[in-house]
């Protein structure tokens, strides 16, 4: 066991990062002066931040030394993109290892590590990170905020997020993303991994950062927005952030408490031991946040679709009020469905039926939004650019994933497909098509701003889109069929009868991975192109009215 050595290296690396951060803040060149120009000397720091947070800002590594909202947003976007690629490579590794029924190159422990890293980094790192990044980047300009305060808090919370992600990577936990009790506290390779408590600390840091950022979003929306913007014409993206922020604040602290209990149980097992609490107690506390978390990952994507569709169809949103209604109803209903993850855990028939019913009800606001989007496309003239392709694919994927979700919300069907690849297919359709696809749509829309007036290469963008869409469909589609045939998920090997589905999913996964590489190459390629356009973008411009 090389515990003390690894811990020493790990701890000193974190300490060096923190010290470097402080040094950079105090001694590095002040990049604000460069961006604002001569008038900088007459501004206070808060005025400068407010000015900077409404500029059209490009990608730059100097954002790590500034604390206005736009800089924080770019920080979150860059970091979450790194987490996305780390987690994506882990996912492709799992797919390739599952080519044959006997694992080809991963031992079960290695498979579990990749599984945990893929799950935690994709959800906490990419889904939450890109949501926070887009929120910090888009909200100040869409609300035309009057003052951009709390920059230091946002900055510290960003570092909580980044260090939390590093903790998740370094922990090499095998306990899967929900860190269930008896497994997580067994600090062995056969249990939750020797450092699974480090992953718990990482999750706590990320969740705390998310909660504080949500409070800051609510402050921006309700207190700091320009007085001329009334609540009745707030942008739908802002409404979606309201919905997501309330959902986070209402449920995430429970998860932090549960993680704290888990860490305490390492020292003195009192909370979730069979004699005092129950192991199910942790599962309940976790899913009270775990299910809202996955809605938090899709609700901002809903808001972005509402923002992107009018701009690419040249018309207004079909029904603004039903859009707001659906986003707020989603907030209320999605806080009540978490029990459907525990249908087979012995909550009791009555509870199962209650959670099953609320899970069916969530289809109502989702369907309102979907029909709203379809109506918007119907009355408008859709322009099939790359972001619009991502949006349409996102809507289709969401419908497929959502219908499967309603199916598995039935207690009887859930009994059959629980723990099979049908569930994996359900949430990969939604997370890949909606969360990831819409984040890419937003990034392509903001491309000319991010690169200071360069256009993305359209063939490469379309290649990225088609590879992502086809990869998602092949991978998740075969999972879905295999899952209904009984193919178990979260295992390093499988029975030979499932090889067709697994091989097809592996091909889909590799296609998906190649597509994301093309996305990165597109950014590099743009750097070698001349400035062709202004750094304006349609997402931050005035809405179509």
């Amino acid at each position: 066991m090389s515990f003390p050595f690894e811990l020493a290296v790990f701890g000193s690396a974190i300490a060096v990062i923190i010290i470097m951060g402080f040094l950079l803040y105090y001694f590095a060149v002040d990049y604000r002066k460069h961006l604002i120009g001569d008038s900088y000397s007459t501004m206070s720091k808060q005025e400068a931040n407010t000015f900077l947070s409404k500029m059209r800002r490009e990608l730059s590594l100097s954002v790590f030394m500034m604390d206005d909202s736009k800089s924080i947003g770019i920080r979150y976007l860059l970091t979450s993109l790194a987490f996305f690629f780390i987690a994506g490579l882990a996912g492709i590794g799992m797919r390739i290892s599952l080519w044959y029924p006997n694992p080809t190159f991963l031992t079960p422990v290695q498979y579990n590590i990749l599984l945990t890293e893929h799950g935690t980094l994709m959800l906490y790192g990419w889904a939450l990170g890109s949501l926070l990044g887009l929120g910090y980047y888009l909200l100040p300009s869409s609300l035309n905020i009057r003052k951009d305060s709390l920059g230091i808090v946002s900055s510290v919370m960003y570092w909580f997020f980044a260090i939390g992600g590093l903790f998740l990577i370094f922990s090499k936990s095998t306990a899967s993303w929900y860190f269930y009790y008896p497994l997580t506290d067994q600090l062995t390779e056969a249990g939750g991994g020797s450092f699974s408590f480090v992953a718990l600390i990482g999750v706590m840091l990320i969740v705390i950062a998310t909660v504080v950022a949500s409070i800051i979003f609510l402050k921006m929306i309700f207190i700091d927005r320009d007085k001329s913007i009334r609540l009745s014409n707030l942008s739908l993206f802002s409404w979606s952030m309201v919905s997501a922020a309330f959902l986070i604040i209402g449920s995430a602290p429970v998860s932090v408490v549960a993680d704290g209990y888990l860490i305490y149980d390492l020292v003195n097992p009192v909370f979730f031991q069979g004699s005092n609490g129950t192991a199910l107690g942790y599962a309940i506390m976790f899913w009270f946040w775990g299910h809202p978390l996955v809605y938090v990952a899709v609700i901002p994507a809903f808001g972005l679709i509402y923002e992107l569709l009018p701009r690419f169809t040249g018309t207004k949103v079909f029904s603004y009020r039903s859009g707001v209604f659906s986003l707020l109803l989603l907030m209320v209903l999605s806080g009540t469905v978490w029990g459907h993850h525990l249908f087979n855990s012995g909550l009791g028939t009555v509870w199962d039926l209650i959670f099953s019913s609320t899970s069916f009800l969530v289809a109502i606001p989702s369907a309102i939004s979907v029909f709203n989007w379809i109506a918007t496309i119907w009355v408008g003239r859709p322009k099939m650019s790359v972001p619009m392709l991502f949006v349409i694919n996102g809507i289709i994927d969401f419908v497929i994933g959502g219908v499967v979700g309603v199916m598995v919300a039935d207690v009887g069907v859930n009994e059959l497909v629980h723990g099979t690849y049908a569930i994996t297919a359900h949430f990969h359709f939604i997370f890949l098509g909606l969360t990831t696809g819409i984040a890419f749509a937003a990034i392509y829309t903001l491309f000319s701003t991010f690169t200071a007036g360069r256009k993305y290469n359209v063939p490469m963008g379309k290649a990225h889109f088609y590879l992502t869409a086809i990869g998602t469909w092949v991978m998740s589609g075969f999972w879905l069929v295999g899952g209904f045939a009984g193919m178990p998920r979260r295992v390093a090997g499988y029975f030979g009868i499932f090889q067709t589905y697994q091989d097809a999913a592996a091909i889909g996964g590799v296609i998906l991975g190649i597509g994301q590489l093309i996305f990165l190459i597109n950014f590099v390629y743009s750097a070698y192109k001349p400035v062709e356009t202004t750094n304006e973008n349609i997402l931050e411009a005035e809405a179509v009215s």
Binding site: F85, L89, N102, R454, V524, A527
Partner: protein, 188 residues
């Protein structure tokens, strides 16, 4: 935008992804390049994780186990004494954790059962031992070629690994029934 920015981001992302992937795969016992061989049959081997020996309550506390290649050996390790143990298997008669084929931690809770499966492709002498108790918990695992043993009982001992120095009161090759009489399988 400076030209270096997207290139730096590209490189950082690729290095982070690749580096993390390599880091994830560095697991004790998991980083081994050896792959479990294909198998036609399975054999269950029950071991007790106890500091006095792997089969502590018999006359042979660390029995020599005879098995064949291309048989999936299913080691069922039962924790007995609330102490931390590992089941580690090395090629040859040596005890070094760095060259281990299998290294599985056994949680220090009495009654915990840990399974470790492996199928050998090469015949020879292997060592099974505990990294925490290398003196008391160590035994030999002798793998015969499955082809020879399936021919007949007379001519197959030529290919067997050298059994010199092994205190063994059984003959080569050994049938499953004899092994069961020999102690290690009797708790099944």
């Amino acid at each position: 935008m400076k030209r270096i920015t997207p290139i730096a981001i590209f490189l950082i992302v690729l290095i982070a992804a690749g580096g993390s992937f390599v880091y994830f795969l560095e697991v004790p016992g998991g980083a081994s390049t050896q792959v479990s061989a294909s198998y036609n049959s399975t054999a269950l081997i029950v071991l007790y994780a106890n500091a006095q020996g792997w089969n502590y309550n018999s006359s042979h506390p660390n029995p020599t186990i005879y098995e064949k290649t291309h048989v999936l050996l299913e080691f069922k390790v039962i924790e007995q004494d609330n102490l931390p143990h590992t089941l580690t298997i090395n090629p040859g008669p040596n005890e070094s954790a760095s060259s281990a084929i299998i290294s599985v931690d056994i949680p220090a809770v009495t009654g915990t059962v840990v399974w470790a499966n492996w199928s050998f492709s090469n015949s020879g002498v292997y060592t099974y031992w505990c990294e925490v108790h290398p003196e008391t918990m160590v035994g030999l695992l002798i793998i015969n070629s499955s082809q020879n043993s399936s021919v007949s009982a007379n001519n197959s001992s030529a290919d067997a690994p050298s059994a010199a120095g092994i205190n063994c009161n059984c003959t080569f090759p050994i049938s499953l029934e004899e092994q069961m009489l020999n102690g290690i399988h009797e708790e099944i």
